[in-house]
Amino acid sequence: MYLTKEEERVLRGDEGEVKARALKVIVKVGEIFGAERLVNISHAHVSGISYFNIRRYGVEFLEDLVNNGAKFSVFTTANPYAAHYLSFKGRGFSKDVIDNQERIINALISMGARAFTCAPYHIRRPKVSEHLAWAESNAVLYANSVFGARTNREGGPLALLEAIVGKAPYCGMHVDEERYPSILIKVPKPSSLLEAAVIGYLTGKISLSRIPYVEGLGRVRDEWLKAFLAGVGASSGTPMVFLEGITPDCRRVRKDDIQEHVRLSEEDVRSFIKEHSPPREATGNRLYVIGCPHISEEKIRKVDLRVRGVCSGACDEELWIITGCFSLPCSGILASANGRVRIIEGACPIVTRLDLLGVEEVVTDSVKALHYLPRLAHVKAFIMDREEILKRFGVGLCG
């Protein structure tokens, strides 16, 4: 691989042992994927933040970096942490979980992390053709497909090391020639946020590791687009989707060149929703969650928590509305109404062992959450449209 004089200097250890080792990792990974050189990045986004995922050795790795003087050299944000500070029906997490999650957060802040969210595009909007190193599939898909920025689907530790060096291997989605669709998927037009999320999930299932060209989605609003792309990320390995009328890269490609065509039907979407709808009566302690991916700061300010009238659902149920910790320090719980509805900052219920809080089932508007909750949070999961959930709790959320 070609390295600049400056990169060779860093590799020799002229800027310290930590940076040298971080660059060594990036160069090796680049060699594996056939990168000819490195590229400067302007924003890194790190994943692998929950103590439930990275455990003791992840904590030690991060603290080891801090103790050796590691600092992020570019604008860096991090994924949300586990909801370690929350309780459910009076039950909270052990001291071990709380302490270790705090250690992870503190280590990242001391290296220079600016925020904790799975929607880093709400903090710093990427420009067209800008090079990024983002880990977190929904964010990667949003950056490439909506903004026309360039990032591969990085792994958690790799993005962390790229944040320290400020560089990533120039390969994959950084290179024009690699940004091409190889399958055309015709989808029905969604009529709700939930439908957009389901269409995304089913699109990803068809695409797998291929980049799809999606026709028929139309110019949907931002929240629906987020739900769609988060769905794609949960069921596929693709880093990008060509969205007709939205993706800047569409100008470079010819739709007619795509050989494989697949159609997703309205019936596919309807039957998926039916299959994953919750039973009328909860079968155990039920929690409602909206905000996967995180709701923007601008939208969260508009949430109207004045409970209008009597709750229409079961009145002992609870709703968490999740948003990012967009600027430090974060308070954790932004607002609460009647103890039933809470607006939560910086956390992610998916990467939280909700079973340890006594939660047995979660109803959410996110198909990404539906996919991961049983695997990571150890609870049953069902889907319901956002409007319907908000109505059940008498909460207003404009837009």
């Binding site: 990792v25 090796k28 594996i32 995922n53 050795y57 992840g58 790795f61 530790p157 790799l158």
Partner: protein
């Protein structure tokens, strides 16, 4: 050389060199003949691998790594807990293992002919060494 062991010499390619060990890399083989997901298949605390035994002090072989990128931290954890293998040998170069091997300081090699995995499974009780990117029976 033990009786009944043929003169094995298998070609490897260096992916990650060790920064510390300059001498011999020797140990019994731990051969896993299916893809492994470090997160879930390997317990960093005990060094035990699903479908196999403990990896400490051994040469760990497997065809490919799959699954979460958190797997790199599990490899790092093996080193921290004193359960590191002396080397890792795999057929596919992947980011999760490579990142893990560098931060854990475990030498990593690519097995050029992946069909050798099944063959080597029969010799798990022998001690092997890696000399100049060649895997040989210790003798």
């Amino acid at each position: 050389m033990g009786s009944g062991t043929p003169n094995i010499a298998i070609e490897l390619k260096v992916i990650v060199e060790s920064t510390r060990r300059h001498g011999e890399l020797c140990g019994p083989l731990e051969v896993i003949d299916h893809p492994i997901s470090f997160l879930g298949d390997l317990d960093a605390e005990t060094g035990k691998i699903r479908g196999g035994d403990r990896v400490k002090g051994k040469i760990l072989l497997y065809p490919t790594a799959v699954g979460s990128t958190v797997g790199s931290y599990v490899i790092y954890g093996l080193s921290r807990s004193g359960n590191a293998p002396v080397a890792i040998v795999t057929c596919n170069e992947d980011a999760v293992t490579t990142v893990g091997a560098i931060i854990a300081d475990i030498p990593l090699y690519k097995l050029v002919d992946c069909s050798m995995i099944k063959y080597l499974k029969k010799y798990e009780d022998r001690v092997f060494c890696i000399h100049d990117s060649v895997l040989v029976v210790k003798g």
